[in-house]
């Protein structure tokens, strides 16, 4: 018997369809919305995705409200600390991990079925780093300028990663 689990994107498609079906039976106004969604066709569904970063941010809020460390979150939810760290990097948890975290947090998966907000690097942060580097007399002018450039490139690459 195959032990392969359904992929998260597959699971989300099913969930999306389930929500769509529920909309259809709600009322005519919502049916219209659903019709419009169907007009967008299945190709658009491929672009829909689970917004891991928003979900992680919401989990963080729950964690802070409960005054827990991430390690305690891992213990309580029975999800490994490594999985939580990977999620912080934008990696998606497997379906079991997601289910455990939803159950632990009381959050709803459908709230995170949307386009991800672009991760913007705060210009103020870079400006502060630049100022601190240039203020460090031991570093030297050339090294400060070089480090400033490297950090800017690093931020750019980090923001460009999916």
């Amino acid at each position: 018997m195959s032990s392969e689990r359904p992929s998260l994107s597959g699971f989300m498609k099913l969930l999306r369809c389930y929500i769509s079906q529920r909309l259809l039976v709600s009322n005519s106004e919502i049916c219209t919305i659903d019709f419009e969604l169907q007009e967008c066709n299945w190709r658009r569904m491929d672009k829909e995705h689970f917004d891991t970063e928003s979900f992680y941010a919401a989990l963080d809020s729950v964690r802070i409200a409960k005054k827990l460390t991430w390690k305690e979150v891992a213990t309580e939810s029975e999800v490994s600390a490594s999985t939580l760290t990977r999620m912080a990097q934008g990696k998606r948890p497997d379906v079991d991990g997601l289910a455990a975290l939803l159950s632990w947090s009381g959050l709803k998966a459908e709230d995170f079925l949307k386009g991800r907000a672009p991760q913007k690097t705060k210009q103020e942060t870079l400006a502060i780093i630049s100022r601190l580097l240039r203020a460090d007399r031991e570093l030297g002018k050339e090294n400060a300028a070089a480090l400033d450039q490297i950090i800017r490139v690093a931020y750019k690459r980090l923001s460009g990663r999916d």
Binding site: K71, S82, Q89, A146, V153, A154, R161
Partner: protein, 98 residues
């Protein structure tokens, strides 16, 4: 330096858990590149940035290669590490370890 109460045992638990996930014994060498890959944290080399910042790479990899070891940048919850690959592999491992 004073560590908060419970830090050492918590750190040990996490270390044991991660080693188990990486299928490493408690005393086996830990490869920081493999650990970063396991945690989904990308590591980029300084020289890989030559096309975007040629003068900066020249300065930090050649002119004054002792000035920079590694840096971790954060964007939201995400991280990326840049390591100076002008250094030996052992030195890079030491730079990545913290």
């Amino acid at each position: 330096m004073n560590l908060r109460r419970g830090f050492k045992s918590e750190a040990n638990r996490i270390a044991r858990e991660v080693r188990r996930e990486l299928r490493l014994g408690l005393a086996a060498p830990l490869d920081p590149w493999k650990l970063a890959e396991h945690l989904g944290i990308p590591i980029e080399t300084l020289t890989s940035m030559r096309c975007d910042a040629p003068q900066a790479v020249e300065q930090l990899a050649k002119n004054d290669h002792e000035a920079f070891s590694a840096v971790a940048v954060f964007s939201g919850y995400r991280r990326l590490i840049v390591v100076n690959d002008a250094h030996s592999r052992g030195r890079q491992a030491s730079s990545l370890a913290p």
